[in-house]
Every structure is written in C-alpha cells, then in structure tokens.
C-alpha cells in the first residue's frame, strides 16, 4: 500500500475520490425572485406615523431603548439625528420599521436585525449589519471592515467603499458595494451574493464554500479555491435589476463584471468520511 498513490489507495479500499468540481459554476435562479425582506408574521406598523429623536446627549443604550419604546407606541418611521459615531445603534430590531440615521454610526451598527429598512446618511464603522437576517440597510458613505459579516438575508448596500473582510462567513442575502472592497472579502462565504462595483483587494473569496461574488473593477488576487466563472444572462439580468434598484448601475452596464465562485477543490470538499480519511492517511 505504501507505494500507492493517494488515489490508488482510496480506489483499492473501495472509496471514491470524485472531485466535486465546479458544482456552483452554473446556478439557476430567477432573476426577478422575490426579496422576502420581511417575514409574513412580522408585526404591522404604521409607516406614516413618524417621529424624530436627537441622540446628541444620549448613550447607546438610551437610543436603542428609545427606538423600542417608540415602536411599541406604533411609530413605523423613526429618524435618529446626531448619532455621533456611537457604537451598537439600531441593533436587534426584529420587525418592520423605517429607521433613518442622519449622521454616522460606529461599530456593530444595526446588527442582528430581522426586517427593518434602515438608511444611514453618513458612514458606518466595523461589522455593520453583522448577522442581519432580513430587511434593507443603505449606507450613503463608506463603511469599515467586516461589513455584513455572517449575514443571512436582506440587502446590505454601501454606496461608498468598504474595508477588509467584507461578507466574511456570509450565509445568505446580498451585499452591494458602490466603491472598492479590501482584502479577504468573501472569506469563508457560504451562501448569498456579493456585488462590488469597484476594485477588490487581495485574496478575494478565500476558502469560500459557496455563493457568488461579482466584481466590476480589478481584483488584486483571488484567494484559495476562489475561481472565475462565466457571467450568464441570468447573472446580467439579476445584476442589472439589483444595481438599478439602488441607483448603482454603471453607465456601461454590467458586462465588465467578473463572477467568482468556489472551486470546491479544498480538502473539505472531497467525499471521504473522517474515518476513511484516517485510513488513507
């Protein structure tokens, strides 16, 4: 056995070494698919019932408590003025709501949300919308690193540029970036789609399990197991619709976008069970 190759040993033991090459390179989907931004059972609110809060002299806890109190009173549109880059604002909102921040937010803004439509007129710090499950978040300026880490659903949109590790471990939903993204974007991405209209830093899509990344500009380098795939008509239709929705469709259209998917050649994609691996190794 010692003189046999890995593949020969596996075959002799009745195992298979089939490589799951390119499984995700042709994914069929409906470009007009429903967004399902909120769950059917999410409580109804009156979007016409609007109020404003000046956060200038408030702490993070006070602002977040105030948002909850206003929602209980039936307000469906809440405007927060002067957020002053505070961390952790607007987190854990699990129902329909129009939430508008007039200014910039710090770390962990609007994390763990499940349904609200959020608009931020300034920038956001690291880890914006981490673990977001549904809803829309639109940021007018730039965002920090780990933008949309582990999101599961909804649309997370930054009109400016974002930092490194964008969409790390994302499990669904859509991330759209109007400018550039930093290194290791899409690292260990599991599902969902990421669209970057500008350039991407080094190691794009490193160790991604699944999902799709579209890059409109230059890619500094691809990460381990991230491979180019053909941009299909379905992709073009979806990109056009999605970027138009947020006013980010480039004048020249979406033909220049590169599509990146998982090559599925890493060790965790062979079809051997752990015990089988032990026997072979």
């Amino acid at each position: 056995m010692a003189g046999l190759s890995h593949e020969e040993r596996a075959r002799d033991m009745g195992l298979t070494t089939e490589q799951l090459t390119g499984r995700t390179q042709q994914v069929f989907f409906e470009p007009e698919e429903a967004e399902n931004f909120t769950y059917p059972w999410a409580p109804e609110v009156d979007f016409n019932k609007r109020t404003e809060v000046d956060a200038d002299a408030m702490t993070t806890t006070e602002v977040n408590s105030k948002i909850r109190a206003l929602m209980k009173e039936g307000h469906g549109s809440i405007v927060i003025r002067n957020p002053r880059g505070m961390h952790g604002l607007g987190v854990g909102i699990l129902s329909r709501l129009n939430l508008i921040f007039e200014g910039s937010l710090g770390y962990f803004a609007v994390g763990l949300i499940d349904g609200p439509n959020v608009r931020i007129s300034g920038r956001v710090g690291w880890s914006c919308a981490e673990n977001m499950m549904a809803g829309t978040v639109l940021i007018e300026k730039n965002a920090g690193s780990t933008f949309g880490a582990a999101i599961r659903g909804g649309d997370l949109v930054c009109r400016g540029s974002v930092g490194s590790r964008t969409g790390i471990d994302m499990k669904g939903g859509t991330i759209i970036v109007g400018g550039d993204t930093g290194m290791l974007s899409g690292f260990m991405m599991q599902r969902g789609r990421m669209v970057v209209c500008g350039n991407a830093g080094k190691d794009l899509g490193d160790s991604m399990y699944d999902g799709t990344i579209y890059i409109g500009g230059e890619i500094k380098s691809l990460g381990v197991d991230a491979v180019p795939a053909e941009l299909t008509d379905l992709d073009r239709a979806w990109l056009t619709r999605k970027l138009t929705l947020y006013g980010l469709l480039p004048e020249q259209g979406v033909d220049r976008f590169q599509k990146i998917v998982a090559g599925k050649q890493l060790w965790n994609y062979d079809n051997l069970e752990p015990l089988e691996k032990k026997l072979i190794l």
Partner: protein, 311 residues
C-alpha cells in the same frame, strides 16, 4: 485592544492638548489602563524640552522613603545635565515624579540622555525642540488635568489609550514611546508584534536600548534604527510592513511629519479624515467625532497601507 489617535493642523497652531484629550477620552473603552500624549508645540530653536520621570506612580504609593529617593534622583539628573554643559532654564513638576525641563544645550544630546537614564528610576520620556511626551496611569481626562494639557497649543499630536496585555500597567509600558535618541520622534501602536523577541535581540546587538518589555517599544527602536541608517520615515514604515510580524496599526510623529502604517492583514482598525487644513485619524470614528461633530467623510485605510503627511 488599545486606541490610537493622531491630529494635524496644517499651517496653524491649535489647542491640540485639549483636542487630543477629547479624542482619547472617546477611545477610553479600548483601554483604560494608561493614557499618553505626544504633542508638538512651536519649535524652540536652541532650547530643548525634556520630559522625564524618576519613579513609577506605583512606587510613590508604597512609601519606604520614596520621596527622599525621588529628590536624590532629581538632584542626580540635574548634576548630569550640568556635567554635560546643559543649563536648566525652566523646571516644572508635573507630578511628584515627573518633571519638565527647558534646557539650553549645544552638545551631544544622545550621550547626555544615555547618562541620565543610568540614574536609577530615571527615564527620559521625550527630548526635543517641539515634542512633549506625557504618559501616566488613568484615563485621558485624569492625565490631561494632571499635566495641564488642556491649554497646550501646537500643530500636531498623537495619543494612546492602553489596554495592557503583554506587559505591566505602568508608565514605562505606556505609550507613546520616544524613538531614542532621535529628538522629536514619538510612536503609538495598537496591536501585537509576534516577532518582538527576535527583533529585539537584533536591535540590542546593534546597540539599541529597551526600557520596557512592551512589544510596542520595538517600533520606536526599529524606527530609530532606520533613521540612523539614513532611511526616510516613509520608507521605514513601508519596510516595517514586511519586517514586523503580527497585527498592528501604528502612528509615528516627528517635528514636521505624521505617518501611519497598517499591517498586511488589516487586522487593526483606523479611520481617517483629511481636509485642506486638518487631518484626524483614530482607531474609531467616535474619536474623530469628538472634535468634528459636523458631518464629514471618512475612510478606512487598507492592508499594508502607509501614509505620511507633512505638517
């Protein structure tokens, strides 16, 4: 986790002491152990400003006749200054153990500094024509009030709030670090340097001295080593990206420059605001907001990015 901040007013002086205090207070949650400032006033040609401590805050609390020892150490420092032909033009006690001297001297400041640091407990925090380096235990407000920084006028500054992780909570391990023996060069750092001991041994073999076991001090010594070799500040910072292992973002200030370097993994944060007359950068947006409450555009530098600004 530590917090760092930098500030440049281009072409004018401002109350950088109070501004840096506000910026660092906003970063207090990143590290409450100690706070440090490197503030740059109008250069005083011909005179040097020396900030020195002769004991640790903790030592002062223990008693055991420390007050008498402190007086002895101050006497020894002043004797050493006189031996080197330096004249003391002004002397202020910021605390019982920290002093600010204005000295007239036209000789070799490096030899003088080395001799002073041979005195037990004595550590020169900064020496230069423009730099004043202040660091102590406590948050930004405590340190700023203690050292009268609220009225300090200057062109630029860097600062640090420390969460001690790999060395003691003491003034010796607090930032900024003076890049001994280079007058007017100071450094603040956020991160962990993983080849600290290897690099430290290399630097020690070249004759550099270390006063603490804090990995951040390596960046000050490393910068001093490069400057000694005729390397520019910008080139030194670029080289550091490849030669220093670990996760880091650090700032270096000189009499007329302020530089920023971020490691190749972009693991430590930095937010940057630039305008014609003001540059502000900090670990978090909230720190910049402490001095610029109006809506502004800020960016995050990327991996392995180095920037150097002229004051």
């Amino acid at each position: 986790m530590c917090g760092i901040a930098g500030l440049i007013h281009r072409g004018r002086s401002s109350n950088v002491g109070a501004e840096m205090t506000a910026m660092l207070l906003a970063l207090k949650h990143r590290g409450p152990d100690s706070t440090g400032f490197a503030v740059y006033g109008e250069p005083s040609e011909g005179d040097y400003i020396m900030r020195i401590k002769v004991a640790e805050q903790e030592e002062m609390a223990k008693g055991h006749g420390i007050e008498a020892q402190v007086e002895e150490r101050i006497g020894a420092v002043e004797a050493c200054l006189a031996e080197h032909g330096a004249t003391v033009k002004a002397k202020e006690h910021a605390t019982a153990y920290a002093l600010r001297y204005i000295i007239g001297h036209d000789g070799d400041t490096e030899d003088m500094a080395r001799r002073i640091e041979e005195i037990e407990g004595a550590e020169i925090l900064s020496l230069g024509n423009a730099l004043e380096l202040i660091k102590d235990l406590g948050d930004a407000t405590v340190v700023s009030e203690q050292y009268g920084l609220g009225v300090f006028q200057g062109t630029h500054a860097i600062g640090h709030t420390r969460m001690a992780t790999e060395s003691d909570v003491d003034i010796r391990s607090a930032h900024p670090y003076w890049a001994f023996p280079y007058n007017d060069v100071a450094i603040v750092h956020n991160g962990q340097i993983t080849n600290y001991w290897t690099m430290r041994r290399v630097m020690e073999r070249r004759g550099h001295r270390f006063l603490s076991d804090c990995d951040s001090e390596l960046l000050a010594v490393y910068t001093a080593d490069n400057l000694a070799g005729g390397v520019s500040l910008e080139e030194s910072m670029r080289r550091s990206i490849g030669e220093i292992d670990g996760v880091f973002t650090y700032l270096v200030a000189t009499r007329d420059q302020l530089g920023m370097a971020k490691d190749s993994m972009a693991a430590k944060p930095m937010v940057l605001y630039e305008s014609e007359d003001l540059i502000a950068l900090a670990s978090e947006e909230v720190s910049i907001r402490a001095i610029l409450p109006q809506e502004i555009d800020t960016t995050d530098p990327y991996d392995a990015e180095v920037r150097v600004w002229q004051v």
